[in-house]
Amino acid sequence: MPTASDIASEAALAFRARIEHLSGQTVSSCYQCGKCTAGCPVASEMDTDPARVMRLVQLGARERVLRDEAIWLCASCETCVSRCPQACRLPRVMDALRAVAEQDGYARDNRGAALLNRLFLAQIRAFGRVHEMSLVAGFNLASRRPLRDVTKGPSMMRKGKLHLLPQRSANLPAVRRIFERVQELEGSET
């Protein structure tokens, strides 16, 4: 855990401020009641439960929290939001942590949710829509588990639920422009 001098350090304060700014949530208002953790469907799978993630952000423990698997396990189910006495939208804090982990290179080796996010967004950029079959195949290959769910694909294909070729939206250029302009705007701010 961070020491007293770490907590007061400029880096720690800057990290907390960055997460509060990105998430739009006042992380410092959390008084650790633990209701988020009590209702969280995946807390039992996390080494660091949601309330502790909030505490680590309060303490500005940047390295520790950005490397934590917990931020990639939050399913954004929003149960905690409907129960938080401080009206904190914790999934937004998780979103901010994931965004920073991605930007600062902490998610590079992640073969779970971070990898899936990158492949999913690449599909939107390529087609304007998501092509499920190549998304799943690409994810299984890149995560080095090519045979995951291998029996399910053919059944889905027979049932007419998977298509070999992607659909391309007529508005693909507009979607690409959105990606470019978001990148431009966010790039100019950091």
Binding site: L22, G24, P41, V42, E45, L73, A75, S76, C77, E78, T79, V81, S82, R89, R92, D95, R98, A99, E102, R111, G112, A113, L115, L116, N117, R118, F120, L121, Q123, I124, G128, R129, V130, H131, E132, M133, V136, F139, S143, R148, K152, S155, K159, G160, K161, L162, H163, Q167, S169, A170, N171, A174, V175, R177, I178, F179, R181, V182, L185, E186
Partner: protein, 289 residues
């Protein structure tokens, strides 16, 4: 009121039985469900995981299309798309700074003139339960249904403003109007694990195990859903549940639209009942003839 239907990526793929049955229902009720022309992905979870601005802008792009096509409302069936689209609208309406940034990205004014409605709301509020009940040709009498709402239809409550977040009854009321008996059960708004299905299917399997157990104990013959990802998790993962836990349920997870369509007289193929992994047709045989 002029509406456009936003199907989303899954309803053109793994959730095409949801789309098929939604169209069958609306056609029988005389509700227009014309697709939004040139729709694009709402961004889903990966967009909001990556950038709040990107997430809102990708959804807002579809609201803009609906506005350009002179639609008053975007009707959505997928709970995840519904959540993203309604959230985007809510956030642009309540956060001026964000709205300005989205307008900069879209190079157009924020499209706040278009409403976002879920198909359940269309049936409940626009069409009405009495009118729906009057169109029922094969009442689902005796069928016990556990209505599963999952997360994204109802949460966060301030944003979604959909029913009661802890104890929703919209789907129960729609299916009761079709003659079904909906059971009281504790899993209504518990999470199925959503897109952890790909990265951590073990977590999804244990969450689905609990949901199926609760639904079965409540006496349900089927679970009714309103989201293609919930359907896939509850249906396709049942063999994995058996492999991981030894529990076997054989409990069909069907779209609520498939049950409504059945009550309105549509056939199994028209509703895509042949497409799920746990076959619902033996359970529904009495209403199919």
């Amino acid at each position: 009121m002029s509406v456009a239907f936003y199907p989303g990526c899954s309803l053109h793929g793994t959730g095409n039985d949801y789309a098929q049955s939604a169209h069958a229902v609306c056609q029988r009720l005389g509700l227009d469900l014309t697709e939004l022309e040139g729709w694009t992905c709402c961004g889903s979870t990966p967009a909001h995981n990556t950038s709040a601005l990107l997430s809102v802008a990708l959804s807002a792009q579809n609201l803009r299309l609906a506005s350009d096509q002179q639609r008053d409302s975007l009707v959505v069936a997928c709970a995840a798309c519904f959540n993203r689209l309604r959230s985007a609208r809510h956030e642009m309406a309540h956060d001026e700074v964000l709205r300005g940034r989205v307008e900069h990205v879209l190079e157009a004014p924020a499209p706040l003139d278009v409403r976002v409605d879920h198909l359940l709301e269309l049936l409940l509020d626009t069409y009405g339960l009495d009118a729906l009940a009057a169109r029922v040709r094969r009442p689902l009498t005796g069928l016990k249904v556990a209505c599963y709402y999952g997360c994204l239809l109802v949460r966060p409550p301030e944003v979604m403003a959909f029913d009661d977040a802890e104890h929703p009854t919209s789907m129960d009321r729609v299916l009761a109007a079709c003659g079904a008996e909906t059971v009281d059960w504790p899993g209504k708004t518990e999470c199925c694990g959503a897109n952890l299905s790909l990265s951590r299917s073990d977590i999804v399997v244990s969450l689905v195990d609990r949901l199926l157990d609760q639904a079965k104990r409540a006496g349900a013959d089927v679970v009714a859903v309103a989201c293609p990802l919930c359907q896939a998790n509850l249906d396709v993962r049942q063999t994995d549940v058996t492999a991981q836990t030894g529990h076997r349920y054989d409990l069909p997870a069907v779209y609520f639209t498939q049950l409504v369509g059945l009550a309105l007289g549509a056939g199994a193929d028209e509703l895509g009942l042949d497409k799920s992994f746990v076959d619902s047709r033996p359970t529904l045989a009495g209403w199919l003839s």
